[in-house]
Amino acid sequence: MITLNSVSKQYSSTVSIGPVSLEIPTGGITALVGPNGAGKSTMLTMVGRLLGIDQGSIEVSGYDVSKTNSKDLAKIVSILRQENHFVTRLTVRQLVGFGRYPHSKGRLTQADEEIISRSIDFLDLGELEARYLDELSGGQRQRAYVAMVLAQDTDTVLLDEPLNNLDMKHSVVMMQHLQRAARELNRTIVIVLHDINFAGHYADYICAMKQGKVVHFGTPAQIMQDEILSEVFETPVNVVPGPNGPLAVYY
């Protein structure tokens, strides 16, 4: 469970995040949605202690992220940002192996290698594991990074727009992988999504943000409503029944 207690962050006199109070339940996928500049990524990076907070507190699985040792947090929560600096002479498997660092401190055991293999297979990267990162497409590299945070074996996984750079097929496959990870591996996955329809279909909870505040939190059925989405995204949205659940139409 992730708990935010009146968290706020001041950027300048006009730009600020919060105060946000929120409880994200254990297990399942929680999607953060909202217009550009709503503070979704900022909130995610604060939960993942990449960014400090000014006021309030954040707890992940009962550990206060600003007080707990970063070393210990690395075994509790993992975070993946949108853009990652990549090293050219690194293979997919070596990258995924870095996910074991909090546990192995760089000395990989047979058990670590097995977890690495499973993470790679979980994201269908078996064929690519010996390839160097600079030989991959943006989408493949994205999957390799997701495999790395899965190998980190944390109960909570935070992903900042993992569907960026992915085409239709790979977006769907990625969401299916994440759904399986949430269900089969019992992870709590918090993910920033741009496409409300992906959130509506794959997420278990949707958290809608606007101007640095959480405006709605609920199940997809509760959030996928004309008035709510129109208000959040500041554009007319019609929710129509689709073959696999409700679809937001805003074109």
């Binding site: 690395a74 090293v87 070596q94 690495i116």
Partner: protein, 344 residues
């Protein structure tokens, strides 16, 4: 952890730093060749053109005199190689060298300033152990102040730090150039000898200070190879994996500045060497792992220095200016590698 049975683990799948047999074989062969070349040039410098018969007392007296040059080269190679590899890693930038952070410009200002104020006597004024320690301390102090100021503030950004470092370096360089304009030709001539990187500049009396400094600073950087591998992945991934990014970067920059200060104060500026050596080491080692990059880069550094020195001494009879051959031959080698492989 309870994973469902999703695909089986195949024996032999390894996330190690040298993943396949081929890569492993190539690394060790390349490393052996480098060791061979290092020994060849090392022994060559001691024994080639030695007027006394091999093994006689006179031979050893001359060899001992020459050994001090080799010791200098070992220290310079270690400093330049380790500092540059580590610097490129912590800054996540593979096309820069720590020399741009103002070390060499500061050295030029100090040397030029001494001659400017004291005349030709200024050159001798800046020789001696305490002066050596003072120069190292000034260089380390300047860079620590710079890093500390720029990395701990709200802007805490390595790119800004690099930019400010380059600007300070350029500014100091201009001051040095301005003072050089006002020198008499004879003073300028004396000064020039100090401003070209040369093994002959090194004074053996500095060694008791230089060697422990290099062992401590270099030792720390080499021993933190595993953390370096993670720092190379960038700030956010580093924090995600539980490493205090800012603390590690600051510590590394501190030790890098010691290495750069020692080599610059010892032999003068060798701007291109570190960059050349680090890039060639990445090309030849073909791995990301610092445990394998460091020894390769150190050996390449020594081979380049000793090779250049050997050729200049025995072919062109101009042993003073190794920097020139390093930049000419090294630059061409570097270009060939980059063009052939098409990547850094």
């Amino acid at each position: 952890m309870t994973y469902p049975a999703l695909g089986t683990h195949h024996a032999g799948r390894s996330a190690g730093p040298l993943p396949t047999k081929q890569v492993r074989k190539r690394y060790w062969i390349t490393l052996s060749i480098m060791i061979g070349l290092a020994l060849f040039f090392g022994i060559g410098l001691l024994a080639w053109d030695n007027p006394m018969p091999f093994g006689s007392d006179g031979f050893w007296i001359i060899a001992k005199l020459r050994a001090s040059n080799i010791l200098t080269m070992v220290i310079v190679a270690a400093c330049q190689a380790i500092a540059t590899v580590a610097f490129q890693t912590v800054t996540n930038n593979r096309i820069i060298t720590p020399s741009i952070m103002g070390f060499e410009a500061l050295y030029r200002v100090v040397q030029t300033g001494a001659v400017f104020v004291l005349g030709v006597a200024g050159v001798t004024f800046f020789t001696g152990v305490s002066q050596f320690v003072l120069q190292v301390a000034i260089m380390v102090g300047l860079s620590v102040a710079l890093y500390g100021w720029l990395l701990s503030g709200k802007l805490g950004n390595i790119q800004i730090m690099l930019l400010v470092g380059i600007i300070i370096g350029t500014g100091l360089g201009s001051i040095a150039t301005f003072m050089q304009r006002l020198l008499t030709p004879s003073e300028f001539d004396v000064l020039t000898a100090r401003l070209f990187g040369s093994m002959a500049n090194a004074d053996m009396s500095y060694m008791p200070v230089a060697i422990p400094l290099v062992l401590i600073a270099g030792g720390y950087l080499v021993l933190s190879s595993k953390k370096m591998n993670i720092l190379a992945l960038g700030k956010e991934t580093t924090i995600n994996l539980g490493i205090n990014h800012r603390r590690e970067v600051m510590k590394s920059l501190f030790f890098i500045s010691i290495l750069m200060a020692v080599t610059t104060a010892l032999v003068g500026p060798l701007t291109f060497l570190g960059f050349l050596v680090a890039t060639l080491a990445y090309q030849l080692a073909d791995t990301y792992d610092h445990r394998f990059i460091y020894p390769m880069s150190f050996l390449i550094g020594f081979v380049v220095l000793a090779g250049a020195y050997f050729i200049m001494k025995n072919v062109f009879y101009a042993e003073g200016v190794v920097g020139i051959i390093i930049e000419a031959v090294g630059g061409i080698t570097f270009l060939i590698f980059i063009l052939r492989k098409g990547r850094l």
